[in-house]
């Protein structure tokens, strides 16, 4: 092996060069840090001033529109800094201030950007885009958001459903109900609660189509539809719900229907609820019927609940006691008057205890 001999001056030159490069790097890092600190300081001062503008718009105090105009004209780098606050407030404020905030976002091209991002490669960007369009109540984007219900990314599909609920456009009713079905390629359907919440958000315009879904073959769809009718207070569909209670076989759907009868029904529905509270039904159906009896109230409901205190299933007895407490003084009187049956007395004591805890009342014993 041959040895290479370098003259000493070459080694010295290399050392000096390395030293110079090191010093230059340190200088660059130092200058970059100072510049960044200055820029951050300047930006936070600018943001502090802008935050007042955002608060003025969000509070509805921007009567002359001056704050909104200032925000409309912001350069994009500053607007990017303000945007999270604006979006955060947009989800918590309603009325004219919300509309003003949307107009600022629109002025900065947020709708176009979100529409483009609906087809982005990243699932989280697609989800964010759908959410933004929902927050901005941009109903014209509904046809573009609908395909996301079948998105391969579960998060994007769930967010799209919630965004459609915010957009309140009845055109989304059918696609939302369809999204409950598993896809042929193996992707599962959307969770029922997500679809129910979105259907409720669609408002009265969706009532008829949701009511028609009670006749679909799939039990999950019927259950989601009947829950949405109750939570959405769609009294116009009460007849369809009553039909469902009469003919339904699936316990999941029956339990949901019993819940909805309590939300929409009247004292005329007590007989149907009494039938559903019978021991031949699964506990979930009976429990839903009992809650609805507590919701509707009246003397017949009180009498049925009093009988159920002695039910063979102690959970049903306890639930009957809780519902009697919901009926106020007359219901609590029933619990105080229970005698003779151990199961009924235990349930009555439980009901009064829970009621006292819930309402910070001194404990009355049965």
């Amino acid at each position: 092996m041959t040895e290479v001999h370098l003259p000493p001056w070459v080694l010295q030159l290399v050392l000096w060069l390395m030293l110079a490069i090191g010093v230059a790097l340190l200088l660059v890092i130092g200058v970059a840090r100072v510049t960044r600190r200055r820029r951050t300081g300047q930006q936070s001062r600018e943001l502090a001033a802008l935050r007042d503008d955002v608060l003025e718009v969000a509070s509805g105090d921007d009567a002359d529109g001056a704050a909104r105009r200032r925000l409309d004209r912001l350069p994009s780098h500053l607007f990017r800094a303000v945007m999270p606050t604006l979006i955060g407030l947009l989800s918590k404020v309603r009325g004219a201030p919300a509309r003003a905030m949307v107009s600022i976002l629109v002025a900065h091209g947020a709708v176009t950007l979100a529409q483009v991002d609906l087809t982005a490669r990243s699932g989280s960007r697609r989800a964010q885009a759908a959410w933004m369009l929902g927050l901005m109540r941009h109903t014209r984007s509904v046809p573009r958001v609908l395909p996301l219900l079948q998105d391969r990314d579960r998060g994007a599909a769930v967010t799209a459903a919630r965004a459609l609920g915010m957009l309140r456009d009845p055109r989304a009713t059918g696609p939302l109900l369809d999204a409950l079905q598993p896809e042929a390629q193996g992707r599962g359907g959307l969770p029922s609660w997500v679809v129910v919440e979105a259907l409720v958000g669609l408002g009265p315009g969706a009532a008829e189509e949701i009511g028609a879904a009670l006749r679909r073959d799939d039990a999950t769809t019927r259950a989601a539809a009947v829950l949405a009718l109750g939570l959405g207070q769609h009294v116009s569909q009460l007849g369809a719900v009553r039909d469902l209670v009469e003919h339904e076989q699936s316990p999941i759907v029956l339990a949901a229907a019993a819940e909805t009868v309590g939300q929409l029904g009247s004292r005329g529905d007590v007989d149907a609820l009494v039938r559903l509270s019978g021991a031949e039904h699964p506990r979930a159906v009976r429990a839903a019927a009992l809650r609805s009896l507590g919701e509707i109230g009246g003397v017949p409901a009180r009498e049925v609940l009093a009988e159920l205190l002695a039910d063979e299933d102690p959970r049903i007895g306890d639930l009957a006691a809780e519902q009697l407490c919901r009926l106020g003084g007359p219901g609590r009187e029933v619990l105080h008057g229970v005698r003779g049956n151990d199961a009924a007395m235990a349930s009555a004591r439980y009901g009064l205890l829970i009621d006292a805890l819930r309402h910070d009342r001194p404990l009355e014993t049965a």
Binding site: G60, D61, T85, G88, L89, K92, V93, R94, R358
Partner: protein, 127 residues
């Protein structure tokens, strides 16, 4: 001259700042805090005319603070508004049962909030 004192407790900085901004613009003196423990401590110190409490906060919840206010004779005149995202009937019922004077659900209208504050403080609308 500042008007009645309002205690605002919310762990969401944007909401806290917004409510404080709106109240100050309407002429109220505002004490803003970020959690339930601070809310209870400030309530005892400043004895506010009204408290606007978020329900879900770190430490004591808004309902816990409300219970403590209602149990304190020195705060007997303090009105309480719960400002929360919890919109279910059972939540609203729990709020009023615990002693809230009013219950406002988010998303809310800042203008409506200020009207309700004014009504509770007996001064009529300030807007």
């Amino acid at each position: 001259m500042t008007g009645p004192t309002v205690l605002v407790a919310d762990d969401d900085e944007d909401i806290r700042d917004l409510v404080a901004f709106k109240l100050e613009t309407a002429g109220y003196a505002v004490e803003a805090v970020t959690d339930g423990d601070q809310a209870w401590a400030r309530a005892q110190e400043v004895r506010p005319d009204l408290a606007i409490l978020d329900v879900m906060m770190p430490g004591l919840s808004g309902l816990d603070v409300l219970r403590k206010i209602r149990a304190d004779e020195g705060l007997a005149d303090t009105r309480v508004i719960l400002l929360t995202a919890r919109a279910r009937e059972v939540d609203v019922d729990a709020g009023f049962s615990t002693g809230a004077d009013d219950y406002i659900v988010k998303p809310f209208s800042p203008r409506e909030l200020i009207h309700r504050v004014a009504v509770l403080l007996g001064g009529g609308s300030r807007q």
